[in-house]
């Protein structure tokens, strides 16, 4: 008892949190990420790695089910923290402190572990009625289908999201995989129907008649792009650059003076832009051309910077440079061109609709890069569900 209590206390101060982001609560997700980084904690990427589930926002029934699955798959000692969409940084910090105390409480963790059923592994819900004779653990064997080289190979249906690192909140993509090649993808939004579109706020507020400066909108746009860039770099396997993007994003949002942000962003953008290795790894797939733009009615950066994943990254970087140069602009905001396109038209709907066609035939890692390079903002869809587009004044 003495030893495991001491180990638990030692470990509790450095948990590996897994962040479950909820669409419509991006603001609190950003605050939670900043708090985790301030504490020097390293985020986890899977249920097996984490001991602390940090739920940012109020998930609806469907998303709650997915979060419960993650919670169920987490080995003890474990703790769960729920912060609502309106939580301030201090509340998040307090909730995390409580979780640390809970993780160090060996007696309570033991009681909790005793009430859990044995960890046998999650089993997928039965898809059809038939019996599978001699199938292992009563599971259906993988189906088979012809692959791109004309071979007949096993097919697996693998869900990606909605609780996943460097992933748009509330997005779920069910991939049909042969080996690591995506043969098909079904995209679903697991949303709540509540919340605000955080990245579109300045433009929406301006449309409602409130006074918003162009500088404030430029800050939001730069931060939105830096958030997307950080995720793309994370998926591309460059964690140090992704962390840098996250810090810059928080600096921009926190209202740091333009001169300081410009200098540090300039160095970051040069490092990313000059990396030939990065360009080599992300070019020539996920190509969006005029036909794709027309077919899915794409707007925003994805339409402005046609081409492959590398072209979209370069587009984000260029637009961020321009936005950071404009953060001190005191003129009133005009127009509705938000980070992902016209805020009244929910441009992310087009991005999501375009995904299946873009993913088909891609390798798994390329598929994740394509999704990250479009980075649809599900907030736009859930916010649109509650507040339908206001008629133009």
């Amino acid at each position: 008892m003495g030893l495991s209590a001491r180990l638990a206390r030692c470990a509790a101060g450095r948990p590996r949190p897994l962040i479950a982001a909820v669409p419509g609560a991006t603001g609190v997700r950003l605050a939670a990420e900043a708090e985790v980084r301030r504490r020097g904690w390293r985020p986890a990427s899977s249920p097996g790695e984490t001991g602390l589930l940090l739920i940012c926002g109020e998930p609806g029934a469907a998303l709650d089910e997915a979060i419960e699955t993650v919670w169920w798959a987490m080995p003890g000692p474990r703790a769960q923290v729920r912060v609502d969409a309106a939580a301030a940084s201090a509340e998040i910090a307090e909730a995390l402190d409580r979780a640390v105390i809970g993780l160090a409480d060996v007696a309570a963790q033991r009681v909790a572990a005793g009430t859990r059923p044995a960890m046998g592994g999650w089993s997928p819900p039965a898809r059809h009625e038939e019996h599978h004779m001699g199938a292992p653990a009563g599971l259906a064997m993988a189906d088979r289908a012809a692959d791109r080289d004309g071979l007949t190979l096993d097919v697996l249906r693998v869900p990606l999201g909605p609780v996943l690192a460097d992933w748009p909140a509330g997005l779920q993509v069910v991939m049909t995989l042969q080996g690591d090649v995506v043969q098909g993808a079904e995209v679903e939004v697991v949303g709540t129907g509540e919340g605000v579109a955080f990245w579109d706020e300045p433009w929406l507020a301006a449309r409602e008649g409130r006074t918003v400066t162009s500088g404030a909108a430029a800050r939001r746009l730069a931060a939105a792009h830096l958030d997307s860039v950080g995720r793309l770099l994370g998926v591309a396997g460059w964690p140090s650059a992704a962390a840098r993007a996250g810090r810059l994003r928080d600096d921009v949002l926190a209202g740091r003076p333009a001169a300081r942000v410009t200098a540090s962003y300039g160095a970051f953008a040069r490092r990313i832009g000059r990396s030939r290795l990065l360009r080599w790894m992300i070019r020539d797939f996920g190509v969006i051309d005029d036909a794709v733009v027309d077919r899915f009615d794409l707007t925003g950066p994805a339409a402005r910077h046609p081409g492959d994943v590398a072209a979209r990254l370069a587009g984000w970087l260029a637009e961020t440079t321009a936005a950071i140069a404009a953060v001190d602009d005191e003129t009133a905001l005009a127009g509705d061109e938000g980070p992902r396109g016209p805020v009244t038209r929910a441009p992310s709907a087009g991005l999501i609709a375009a995904l299946p066609a873009l993913l088909e035939g891609a390798e798994f890692s390329a598929a994740r890069l394509i999704i990250a390079s479009l980075d649809p903002d599900v907030d736009q869809l859930v916010a649109a569900a509650v507040s339908p587009e206001a008629p133009d004044a």
Partner: protein, 308 residues
């Protein structure tokens, strides 16, 4: 025959290996804290210890219908392969077990890692882990031939497969000076062998941890510790192969071996924070079209030089 190696070295070797593995993990934590902009990055030094403490008390989790035996074999094989490889590495002038074919033995242990990562990825019955396993095999196809040519080139220069003799043959002129291509290729394959940093695609974040995604508790600890130990051994073998072994002024030979090992190890750890992950569907072509021909040329040059 030579005199037998002292018995205490058999006990000291695992301790030394674990110590260096911890040092690598601590250095990695500090570099990460610096990158994340933490005000006191030195506090991250103890992170690996805390992480290990957590792993020791965490429940072992299961997946549906796993092959437990194969998974365990895979996980345990990593530190075992690292330790067995370390046995032939001379610290100073003498390894714990001096084999006439030390270079081949090291290579065999490295190939055991292929099996270990594949079994870990396959055994847990999870799609992400399985893809991680595939990725390691693809990576193996890309780095193994250049890696073997790099080993053989150094052995050819010394005229021996005994790591102690290879080190001794560099009296005056280190192999790194006249076999630079082989040295660079060796460092690259050292990263690949420990699936570390730019060659960490099998356990990359886009798969939420790849081959290791389903591991928790002691399994995860053994897997990750084994990976750091592999990194240490890969760095340690570079010293007798290319950096003159224990040769150096003033200090005793074993100190020079350790200093050089730590320098190579630090460079390997640092590479993770400097470079992004290489995807094998892109990299394979470069590996076969550039690395292998370059290594063959390097081997040819060495062969002509050592021709009696």
């Amino acid at each position: 025959m030579r005199e037998a190696t002292a018995v205490w070295t058999v006990v000291a070797l695992p301790i030394l290996l674990a110590g260096l593995a911890f040092a690598a993990a601590a250095f990695n934590s500090v570099l990460r804290a610096v990158g994340a902009g933490h005000p006191e990055p030195a506090r991250a030094l103890t992170d690996p210890l805390r992480e290990a403490a957590r792993s020791l008390i965490v429940q072992r989790r299961g997946t549906l219908a796993p092959d437990r035996l194969l998974t365990r074999i895979g996980v345990i094989s990593l530190p075992v392969a690292a330790l067995l490889a370390a046995v032939v590495v001379p610290i100073g002038t003498e390894p714990v077990a001096r084999l006439r074919i030390g270079v081949v033995w090291f290579n065999a242990m490295e190939v055991a890692v292929w099996g270990a990562v594949w079994l870990t990825g396959w055994g847990v019955n999870s799609a992400y882990a399985l893809i991680g396993g595939y990725r390691f095999i693809a990576q193996g196809l890309a780095y193994e031939l250049p890696h073997m040519f790099a080993l053989i080139t150094a052995a050819l220069g010394a005229g021996s497969l005994d790591l102690t003799k290879v080190a001794a043959a560099q009296d005056g002129l280190w192999f790194v000076v006249w076999m630079p291509v082989a040295f660079v290729v060796y460092l690259f394959s050292a990263l690949a062998m420990a699936f570390w940093g730019p060659l960490g695609h099998p356990v990359a974040g886009d798969l939420a941890g790849g081959a290791a995604v389903e591991l928790s508790g002691p399994d995860r600890l053994v897997f990750l510790a084994g990976r750091y130990m592999l990194l240490v051994v890969a760095a340690a073998v570079a010293v007798p192969l290319f950096l003159g072994g224990g040769a150096g002024p003033l200090l005793p030979a074993w100190t020079w071996s350790l200093v050089k090992t730590c320098a190579v190890l630090a460079a390997l750890v640092w590479a993770r924070h400097r470079l992004l992950v290489l995807r094998m569907d892109r990299f394979m072509e470069l590996s076969w079209m550039v690395l292998i021909p370059a290594m063959l040329l390097q081997a040819l040059v060495v062969a002509i030089v050592v021709l009696p």
